[in-house]
């Protein structure tokens, strides 16, 4: 709302005696506060003078603000006005609430007494405290203390709470009086206990400790909470002995798990890592049969980075049942201290499987090279879960020692370790291993060569092209050739201009065996380009049937439209029905190519349509038609709408085309989409059709 609008609203407010809904000025529903019936005027209400004053005050405040929300800080000069509102007999509840919000932001000592006067008001007590709590003046504390003796019920509970928030040390005795008062409601007593904890002085702590012997069972959580807060404050202030005293007191209680565990944590941390203090306590409870206290000790150890704690944990490992061992192992892993590796290694090598796996998984969390030997050994464990866990763990250890161990495995004479090494090389992304991988790919182990080539493709780059090509030209087995082909394709596509490799590939064709030629052709199909296409075309006339077949397959998968004439010719003229179909499908796929004009796409669509015999190709063409923004494409798609086998594809295509051409061809689109809505049950297609139909009709 602008200031001008605000001003107009204010005038309306004044004239009608009501407020518009503008933030602070919002009316309470059905409120006619301050409006009195004038018996001389039927149906009309007149306003009291004070009411008018309130309206003017609030209006002036509103008019003074640019944005009408109460978190906008009012000018400090408005304090008096807001105080006037809260003191007024005619202001509505909402008005006073909003005034309190404002005083929370700008109130000073001046506002304390007027606000304090509201502390006993059930409806306004909270908002009075809302305004008082942020005021940094001891007058607030005085007012709250004074209210303790005056207010009752819920407001009393609130006042006590605010005393606790403000940590008024002078309120300890008055709060004690409430605790000693048998007539005080339980909620007030509970809040008093909480407030004492927040105050956290020595005096408050003493009161709370005394309460341990007197508080009812339902009140004990508040006493414990209060004592915890005192202990935390003492510890923060350096008064460790006072803090420890409280924690020891809490430890001795027959209390809930969270209290006992929390007290143990507090006691250990406050003692510190001293051998006689915190460390002793930690060690003691690492052997505790009570799982709560045992887990509390482990959890506390997470907050103690010292090596002595690592030692305490690893020593404890020897004497624990399996379940507890796992918790200690998890703790050691999270703490990240490499000093734990020997103990974890021992645990990984022997004992229950779940413990062994936990120990293995903890090692990468520590991430230290000293874990590499044991993990390497465990790779050969006869239990596959153990060996797999070790492999995953070794994969994640970030160290040169791990890389070295993996490379050593690659040089092993046995196949299995070499295959594991190749997995790890890929997982660890060991780019520096590429030269070694190429050596393995050229080596005598047929089981290992394909995996090595795969890694070269993943980790290598264009620099590996010559060697990979040479390797391909040496291979005879299908496995090796496939792997070399994949690797070559991968490294070629890592450049900006893959087609530039065509010449080097085609130059080797004349020396290649049919199997090698086929592999080269497939690589040419991946890298594309005019030279590659030419080589593929030539290969379609090769003397070898396998090569010819491969060339046709590669042509049928060609990605660019320069292959279209050859594909069309093949689709029309081939005597082999499988080739005809493959060529036709390849041709149709090219229609989607973005670099083709709409006219060209339509021409190709017509050509294809004339050759189609099967529903599969009809569907493929419908998919291609969906990319063509033209009336003719829409007509071609609609021609298949009545056929059950192609109805869904035709509907989808019709909708996709319609979305593109609706503005230029609303009538044709509308006609088509009405038919589509009758034909299809597909929810998404129907939704899109309805949306586009709406546009067409507009």
């Amino acid at each position: 709302m602008t200031r001008r609008q605000t001003g107009s609203a204010v005038v309306r407010c004044v004239s009608r005696g009501l407020y518009n809904n503008v933030g602070w000025g919002s009316p309470h529903h059905n409120s006619t506060d301050g409006l009195k019936a004038d018996p001389t005027k039927k149906g009309n209400l007149t306003m009291s003078k004070s009411r008018i004053q309130i309206i003017m005050i609030v209006a002036l405040i509103l008019a003074g603000t640019v944005r009408l929300s109460a978190q906008t800080v009012p000018p400090k000069s408005d304090e008096d006005k807001l105080i006037a509102v809260i003191q007024s007999n005619d202001a509505t509840h909402k008005e006073k609430v909003d005034a309190c919000r404002g005083l929370a932001l700008i109130g000073t000592k001046k506002a304390v007494a007027p606000l304090a006067a509201l502390l006993g008001d059930e409806k306004l007590s909270h908002m009075a405290r809302y305004a008082l709590e942020p005021i940094k003046d001891p007058a607030v504390d005085e007012a709250l203390r004074e209210a303790l003796g005056k207010v009752k019920g819920k407001p009393l509970v609130g006042v006590i709470g605010s005393i606790g928030v403000r940590r008024d040390a002078q309120a300890v005795q008055p709060l004690l009086s409430i605790l000693m008062n048998n007539q005080a409601p339980p909620e007030a007593m509970g809040m008093a206990v909480r407030a004492l904890g927040q105050i956290g002085t020595t005096e408050a702590a003493q009161v709370l400790k005394t309460s341990l012997d007197h508080a009812p069972a339902e009140g004990m959580p508040d006493v414990y909470e209060g004592l915890f807060r005192c202990a935390e404050r003492f510890a923060a202030e350096g008064n460790r002995s006072a803090a420890i005293d409280i924690y020891d007191t809490l430890l001795a209680q027959n209390a809930s798990h969270q209290v006992r565990g929390g007290a143990l944590r507090g006691a250990i941390l406050t003692h510190g890592k001293s051998a006689k203090g915190g460390l002793a306590l930690l060690k003691k409870h690492l052997q505790n049969d009570d799982y709560i206290m045992f887990s509390a000790a482990c959890q506390t150890a997470l907050e103690m980075p010292d090596t002595e704690v690592t030692q305490a944990l690893t020593t404890a490992l020897n004497n624990l049942p399996a379940d507890n061992k796992i918790l200690v192992i998890w703790t050691l892993g999270k703490r990240g201290d490499p000093a734990a590796i020997p103990a974890l290694s021992a645990a990984a090598n022997d004992g229950e499987k779940s413990v062994r796996i936990a120990a293995i998984e903890a090692m990468p969390q520590i991430g230290h090279a000293s874990a590499v030997p044991v993990l390497t050994d465990l790779l050969g464990d006869k239990d596959s879960e153990i060996s797999q866990a070790a492999q995953q763990a070794l994969a994640a250890i970030p160290s040169e020692a791990a890389d070295a161990a993996v490379m050593a495995m690659l040089n092993n004479t046995q196949t299995e370790p070499r295959l594991t090494a190749l997995e790890l090389i890929g997982r660890r992304r060991m780019y520096d291993s590429v030269p070694a991988l190429l050596k393995v790919a050229a080596g005598p182990d047929a089981k290992v060569r394909p995996a090595a080539l795969k890694r070269v493709g993943e980790l290598g780059g264009p620099g590996e092209f010559p060697e990979l090509l040479d390797l391909l030209m040496q291979y005879e087995s299908r496995q090796d050739l496939d792997a070399a082909e994949q690797a070559l394709s991968a490294v070629c596509t890592k450049t900006d201009n893959p087609a530039s490799y065509s010449s080097r590939l085609t130059s080797r064709m004349s020396d290649a065996t049919p199997a090698q030629k086929s592999a080269l052709l497939r690589v040419l199909g991946v890298i594309g380009g005019a030279k590659a296409l030419e080589a593929v075309r030539d290969a379609m006339d090769d003397s070898n049937a396998q090569v010819r077949d491969t060339a046709v397959r590669v042509l049928c998968s060609w990605k660019t439209s320069d292959a279209a004439p050859n594909l069309l010719a093949l689709a029309k003229n081939s005597s082999d029905s499988a080739r005809k179909t493959a060529a036709l499908r390849g041709y149709i796929n090219l229609i989607r190519n973005d670099e083709l004009s709409t006219e060209k796409k339509l021409e190709m669509s017509r050509q294809a349509a004339a050759l189609i015999e099967r529903n599969e190709e009809k569907k493929l063409l419908l998919g291609a038609l969906s990319t063509i923004p033209s009336k003719e494409a829409l007509s071609m798609a609609m021609a298949h709408l009545d056929e059950p086998a192609t109805r869904d594809e035709a509907s989808f295509a019709a909708v996709a085309i319609s979305e593109k051409i609706v503005e230029q061809n609303p009538k044709q689109v509308a006609d088509a989409l009405q038919k589509v809505l009758k034909a299809t049950d597909n929810r998404n297609v129907r939704r899109r059709a309805r949306q586009t139909l709406d546009k067409a009709r507009r």
Binding site: S69, T72, P134, P221, Y291
Partner: protein
């Protein structure tokens, strides 16, 4: 990496003393769930507090976990509690899920419950979590998880005090794409990172409302307990719209468009840049309604810019983040198949980075699973109280900057605004009796 189940006994998770009355009922695993592969002794007994639309979403992630058994829900709105019961009973094929109406009674009676799903609405998240942790429960709380800096501090203190496990629902910290971006930053692959961009919600404004909706007749308390619904917030007359999501945009109930998405994106950015245990120290006011373009600065020199990004310059999904460094940038949001990167080659190591993160931290790529694992291991969750509090402090400070319409400086050590009593007034709000943190 799937976290292996352990054979830790159910008794091990019974966190009760001889003084406690209720004894949990152990029933054969064939009665629970669909596969019964996990022995009953390992189940985490779960309950719900204020589980509505978003909470039901969380619940549907939790229920399929083999080591979870959901037993009861508590809500001040009867219809929501009944909906949760229906979901749970359908899952288990029985009618055993119990409904409670009063939070204090629920916490006092159900000492068998190990952990609570708290999805009450922003105004209650911190207080309900604190109450639950005091009662010995671990907590998974939806976000935004605090309304003020003081509330966040209290959550941190309570979790430490009672050794509770707590997770705030910033689930992107457990998603692969977002994790990859954070790892790229952490590992220095972006060079020296100078700017991060955090998405804020493209609706609502930083300034919020104080008006009251028109009063409607109070429904029966058993249907909607309006007093309990309001909880610690200032009283206002009942209007059903509040209880159906219409609380957004009101100062008493909401953390504005900044908190709506900033609860996620600020946490993501702060964790990513190694500032999970601190908050921004400078906030530069921008003269618009949302805080769009506000530049905040951290002590490590990195700028975090609030971005509404209405023209999709940086993002093409919701709750997005972007990290910019001297060697490149990464960006991700909801709906991305993979992060956007300044160089496609950066994605070559995507799987390695995510797998290494999981191995190094022991964390599952599932926010719910991470919480459940930590309930068992007692390790800190990925979105633990400190992460929540420090990122929400940045949210609150950004809001305060907008409300005060001027720059602010914040001291993360003292957790107060520097020489700024006016801004410090916003650090807390007096709670309506009988509530207190």
């Amino acid at each position: 990496m799937q976290k292996k189940q352990t054979n830790l006994s159910r008794r091990a998770f019974l966190k009760r003393t001889a003084a406690l009355a209720a004894v949990p009922c152990i029933v054969p695993s064939s009665v629970f769930g669909r596969n019964g592969a996990v022995p009953p002794s390992e189940r985490i007994i779960l309950g719900g507090l204020g589980v509505g639309n978003r909470g039901s979403h969380d619940l549907r992630w939790m229920l399929p976990e083999p080591d979870v058994h959901f037993v009861a829900t508590c809500d001040v709105q009867k219809s929501r509690a009944e909906r949760v019961k229906q979901i749970v009973d359908t899952r288990y094929g029985n009618k055993d899920c119990r409904i409670y109406h009063d939070t204090r009674e629920f916490l006092a009676e159900r000492t068998d419950i190990d952990a609570l799903l708290v999805t009450t609405g922003d105004r209650w998240h911190a207080l309900a979590s604190i109450m639950a942790m005091r009662a010995g429960k671990d907590v998974y709380s939806e976000k935004p998880s605090s309304m003020t800096i003081a509330e966040g501090q209290a959550v941190v203190d309570t979790a430490k005090r009672y050794r509770r496990i707590y997770q705030t629902g910033t689930q992107r910290l457990s998603e692969g794409n977002f994790t990859y971006c954070n790892e790229m930053l952490r590992l220095g692959r972006l060079g020296e990172v100078h700017t991060v961009r955090a998405h804020i919600a493209p609706w609502d404004a930083a300034e919020m409302r104080h008006d009251w909706l028109e009063a409607e007749p109070l429904p029966p308390e058993q249907e909607v307990d309006w007093d309990a619904w309001l909880g610690p917030c200032p009283w206002r007359p009942y209007n059903s719209a509040y209880t159906r999501g219409g609380w957004r945009g009101f100062y008493d109930f909401h953390t504005s468009c900044i908190g709506e998405w900033g609860a996620h994106t600020f946490a993501q950015c702060q964790v990513g840049m190694g500032a999970a245990d601190t908050s921004a120290i400078e906030y530069n006011y921008v003269n618009n309604e949302s805080g769009d373009g506000m530049v905040t600065k951290f002590a490590n020199g990195i700028k975090m810019v609030l971005e509404r990004d209405m023209d999709n310059k940086y993002f093409h999904g919701s709750c997005a983040i972007r990290y910019e460094g001297t060697k490149g940038w990464v960006s991700v949001g909801d709906g991305y198949s993979k992060p956007d990167v300044s160089d496609p080659a950066m994605l070559d190591d995507f799987r390695k980075l995510v797998y290494d993160y999981q191995a190094r931290t022991g964390r599952a790529m599932s926010h719910v699973r991470n919480f459940l694992d930590c309930v068992k291991s007692r390790r800190q969750t990925v979105a633990n109280p400190v992460v929540m509090h420090r990122s929400m402090t940045t949210v609150h400070a950004a809001n305060i900057c907008m409300w005060l319409k001027r720059d602010l400086r914040f001291d993360p050590e003292k957790e107060e605004f520097v020489n700024d009593p006016q801004a410090n007034r916003f650090r807390s709000r007096a709670m309506r009796e009988p509530w207190i943190i």
